[in-house]
Each structure stands twice: as structure tokens, then as C-alpha cells.
Amino acid sequence: MADDLVTLTIDGHEVSVPKGTTLLEAAKTIGEQVPHYCYHPGLSSPAMCRLCLVEVEGAPKPMPSCVTTVMEGQVVRTMSEEAKGHREGVLEFYLLNHPLDCPICDMSGECDLQDYVHLEGRKQGRGVEPKRVFGRDDFGGDVLFYGDRCVMCTRCVRFMSEVEQDERLTVVERGNRSVIDTFFTEGLEGTNWHGNIVDICPVGALVSKDFLYKARAWDLDHTPSVCASCSQGCNVMLHTRDNLVHRVKPRENLEVNGWWMCDHGRMDYEWINDGNRLEAPLISEDGVSRRAVGWKDALGELLGRAEELEAASVRAVASARASNEDLGALAELVGALGGGETVFRSPRAQEELVLKGFPKLARRKDLAPNVKGAELLGMRRVGDDAGAGGLDSVAEHGSIVIVLGDVLADQGEDFGAGADLYVYLGTHDSPAAKHADIVLPVTSHAEQEGTFTNHEGRVQRFWPALQPPGMARPAWLILGALDAELTGEGAPETAAELFGKLSDAVPAFGGLTYPDLGTQGASAKVGAGAGS
């Protein structure tokens, strides 16, 4: 191993890194971020922006750190006056034609040009010539292009040709007239991953139409989460303000999604903000009127009614959008109430959309984040590819019916009418909850802590990004409390505690704990108990 390590000095620190590492990456190990535009770890390195220049002892000229690889005994200065001087010169050129329109630019606050100029640029411009003007162009899809802000790093062009492998962008013209352009009349319309070029554009040249003028970057809170729109489980950040999700950005995870995410998942967040939510527990009087009650009364009522039933059997409908913890707590409760079957439904797309240049990542057929988790917990999948049907035996079940997270969109008002006890837990009300004896408001994944198990059995954590509406609580907390009353065991107090118990009890989770999962997740032992 040691043979493959190269030792060099960067900014006075001795570092040992694998052979072939670039100076830019090596500098990161001591916390030095060398400014750069064209370099992106997920793309090829053309070394064309010249912003990453550093001083290397003995080299006749400044070296681009993004492509210069480490050498034994090398002495590198990334932050010396000389290195900074070179970069200051380069930065001055970048501002020659830049419109300096930060106050109306969406990228402001998270822009590499703004940051680098602030850190290393000239305090005062010297340009006197008029600037050339390109204006704005609609690239199709979700992307707007502001040509004057572009720094010509070609990351966007390279993403389309190397990663998405659908060359819809190119550099046209040359010199200071060069500009990024689409080629086909439809532009980026119809491609499935183009949102990523907005992420990797280091400046405000490519911006999202969806996010345009919605919020300033510095007002947004970032919460690590997992995309809930398919079973790939892309790691994401939810960007929130005023208790609303304003956009979703991919979060780096080389095992799952690299630096990327699909447009479907990126744009599928408005439902989280939907205000039409269940906000208080409701108790139904004979299926006619409902009254809102506190949690204590609601759970007391539920337990009371359950006690009256003898030899109960349960039919439960779960959702593949619920977390492992929610589903685990449901499974426990079903057992404690007398046992029975739990089914779930999940829509399925016709095909997988594979990201050609990063084939680990695909928009999977299963359009829910936790299909695997439900299967590992022994739940049976029913219904068709639209996520409908398959509930006849539940709808007519006579004893206890529990619904968690499925809004039963295809079911009629008489769903569960014949049940002795029908409990409906959901984020949203449903016509099919008309006969529910007890309706309990639960939180969405964006409002609670928990884990999803992705298509290959990787268990990944997400964190609460929003305040839950009204009295809504995580399903695991509610179900766990009920289960504790029935079994006499202590109720779980945190999602971590519940997951710990779950992974001890379910062999497929192999004893994983939250600390094992970290921010990047870990693999459950797939296979054991798993369905197809």
C-alpha cells in the first residue's frame, strides 16, 4: 500500500495521498479549497479555466492544480502571494464581460465567481471598454441561460455529452463571442437529467425556471434527506424557508447517486408543501360526524375500542412511502392486535431511466422510496402498476382495518364500512376514510426522522426539514405508543431507538444502527426475507 502513496508538502503541511491524485484534490485533504471552475470530480478535466493555478517549487510557471498530479517531495503553495496573484489576474479576465448583476441573480450567495472574486479578486475593476452582451435564452426543460454570466467552463456541455450522453449543448463561436447553445429546436426538453447542469454551473448562467426568484440562497436552510420519488434513494438536500421546500438538490453519495439526481425526483416536491393536511386526530361518531380530539383521547379511544373486540384479526394497508420505522412499528402493532396481513401498493413505471455515464444511478421502476423496506418487513405487494386495486379483501374485512399512508385514491366511500374498527393514519384525508372510526394525522418524510431502504437494500437516513402541521406526529411514534400500551413494553422515544430494535428483530437489517448508517447509509443484508 505504502508504495502507492506519494508524500509532498502543500502550504507547509506534509500530506500523503495515493499516486495519481491531483494537487487540487490533495489540497482538499488539508482543507484548502483551490478556486476552480472547469474541474468537477464527476466530469473529465479539460484544464481550460486556468483558475486553479498554484505555485509548484521548481516549475517554470504556475500549474493548473486540477490536472497536475502529485510527485514525491513536491513543494506546493496554493495560497502564496504568487499563486493568488496568478488567480487574481485570471479572475480579472472573468469579469471583463460579466454584467455584475448579482443583486438580481439567482446564484448570488452560492456563486463561485462571487466567492472567488471576493476572496482573491481585485478590489476595483479596470475595464473601460463596453461589455459584450448576449442576453437570456430559454434552453427548454427547466433551464434558463444567462449568457453574460457564463464563465465558459463547459461543465454543462461535458455533463450532457459524458454523463447524460445526449449532446444537446455545445460551445458555438469563439473568443469572447463564444457562448453555450442548444442545437436541437427542442433544446433540453425531454431529457431526464438536465437539472444537474444547473447544479454544476459554478455561476448564475444556468438557472432553474422553477426556482427563479423564489428565494435567496442565504435564506434557505439545508436538510439532508433522501428522494422519495423512486426506489433508487438518491441522497438529496431539501432547501427550505418559511416551512416550505423551495428546491431539492442532490447530495453527494458515490454509492448511490454520485453528484446527480433525475429531473423527476427534483421536481417532485410540491406535494410536501401541500397545505391541505390532516392536522388533528379525529374520532368518528357512527361514520356520520367527526370530532377533533387530543392525542391522549384519540389513543385512549382506539385502545378502548380494540379491547372490546375478541379474537380480532387485522388487515393493514401500508405505504411504500412510509419509513422503515413507521412500517416496523405498524408490523409490531398488527402483531399485538392479534396478527394479520399487511399489504402495500406502489406505482411502477414502464421502464428504468439509466444515467448512461453513471449507470449505478437510474430512475427505478418503483416510484416509491421504500418498497424494499416494506418487503423486508414481510409486507405483501398488491395492486397494479398504477398503484391501484388489490384491496378487495381489506375493504370488506370485518375485524380490524388499519391504513397507513395510502390515500386510497381508487377506493370508494364504503371502504372499511364493515370493519369493527377502522383506523386511518395519513398525511391527507381521503373519501375512503369516511368510515374510519379513528383518523390520525401523521407527518411526511420531510417532517420526521427516519430511514428508507432503497432498491438494492441500502438503508439511508433522512432528517426532519419542516415543522409538522398542527398535531401531526410521526407514524412510528403513534404506533409505537399504542404497541407499548398493548404489550406493556416501553414506548420508543426516538427513531434511532426504534430502528435499533427493528434491526435486531429483523435479520435482513443485520443489526444496523443509526451511527452505522451515518449520512451516507449502509447496506442491509439483502436477500434474507426479501421479495422480488
Partner: protein, 218 residues
């Protein structure tokens, strides 16, 4: 000062390869058509042909042009490398490189349309729009500029009644500026189609234009 008559250093004498005399090459009259077969490979690019057959609808490629295209392919190790001469051929035939031509060339060379577009727009010698029968390129780089290129340019524009880059109403003239034409010893240099006119002064401009108008169809 020598008494020897001035000779255009570009004229190497009749090598026997081409059936042209010095008078035809350097004199006022010559406005021949470019031969469809392209001429001898060693001199095809430098011969002062004034007119090429331009047909924006022409097929890429057929007949003699197809033969020339195939010949081009044999000169390069990869199809990608043949992109520039193929684009030139398309321009020679159609008069300019239209988006459709780029698509077609991409198809012929197994390249992506985006790549071909990037290359075509990078080089200014590919016309991205239709141009007149005569493309007048006036050098306005340093030497010519010092010797009055701006006035020459102005004269071309006013005698053809066009703006920079526009085509005159009769479809004959498009005038553009050129960076150095590598004839700094003979300012102002004007390139009209393939042929150089050297030491041009504003006073000569009407003569050149009238000459081209009358000789144009030869």
C-alpha cells in the same frame, strides 16, 4: 529601384499543372468557375477562381462532389479528422454552412450534430448565412489599417449599398472585415471569393465592382 516589372510573389510560374497563364491569374479579367472536380490537390485552395457554382439545395454529396468527399476521407486517419475539409466542400457547393448542412455532415462523419456545430461556428471562414455571389473580405488588420483599410471598407459598403455582412439587393456582394490576410506587404488587401486584390485604394473600388458586375457571369 529595379526596372524589373513588378511580380506578384504568389505566382510561381506555369508549372504545367494548370492550364492558366500569369495574365489570367493576376490580370483583371479572370473570373473563372471553380472546376467541380476541385482541381489538382496541390493547388486547389490557392487558385484564384472567382466563382463557384452555389446551390443551397444541392445534395451532400453526389457526383463529382461525392468523389471529392471520398477522396477527402482517404486523406485522414479518422472520420472526425475529415470534418474541416468536408465542411469546406459543403460550403463550396451550397455557398454557406446551414444548420441542415451541419446535420448532414455530422451524419456523414458519424459525429454528433452538436460537435459539428461547435466546430463550424468556431471558424469564421465558414459562412453561417448565405452570402452574395462575391464575398468581399477587406483586411482591416494593422498594416492595411495604417494604409487606409477603413476607407476601402467604407467604399465597398457604400458602392454596393450594404451594411457590413449584408448582401446587396442584386445578390452580388457581401462585404465583411477580415483579420490579417497574410498580404501585409500589399495593403490594403481585399480577398474576393478565392482571389486576392492587392494595394487597393478607395478610388479603385468602383472599378473593381463594375468589373465584377460585368464579368460576373463569365
Amino acid at each position: 529601384m529595379s526596372d524589373a516589372p513588378f511580380k506578384n510573389p504568389g505566382w510561381a510560374g506555369n508549372t504545367g499543372e494548370f492550364d492558366l497563364t500569369e495574365e489570367q491569374v493576376r490580370g483583371d479579367d479572370f473570373v473563372g468557375d471553380r472546376p467541380k472536380h476541385g482541381g489538382h490537390a496541390s493547388g486547389a485552395g490557392t487558385l484564384p477562381y472567382m466563382l463557384a457554382e452555389k446551390n443551397p439545395e444541392a445534395k451532400l454529396f453526389e457526383g463529382e462532389y461525392q468523389e471529392r468527399f471520398e477522396k477527402i476521407l482517404t486523406r485522414y486517419p479518422t472520420k472526425r479528422a475529415a470534418l474541416l475539409p468536408t465542411l469546406s466542400l459543403a460550403q463550396e457547393l451550397r455557398g454557406y454552412v446551414s444548420p441542415e448542412s451541419m446535420d448532414r455532415v455530422a451524419e456523414l462523419l458519424d459525429l454528433s450534430p452538436a460537435y459539428v456545430r461547435g466546430v463550424s461556428t468556431f471558424y469564421t471562414m465558414y459562412n453561417k448565412r448565405p452570402v452574395g455571389r462575391y464575398l468581399v473580405q477587406v483586411c482591416t488588420n494593422i498594416s492595411c489599417n495604417l494604409c487606409g483599410a477603413d476607407e476601402v471598407l467604407e467604399a465597398f459598403l457604400s458602392y454596393t449599398d450594404t451594411e457590413l455582412g449584408e448582401t446587396s439587393e442584386d445578390g452580388n456582394f457581401t462585404t465583411i472585415e477580415a483579420e490579417c490576410l497574410a498580404a501585409c506587404g500589399f495593403p490594403t488587401c481585399v480577398q474576393i471569393n478565392s482571389r486576392y486584390f492587392e494595394n487597393v485604394t478607395p478610388a479603385e473600388v468602383p472599378k473593381i465592382i463594375e468589373h465584377l458586375k460585368t464579368k460576373g457571369g463569365d
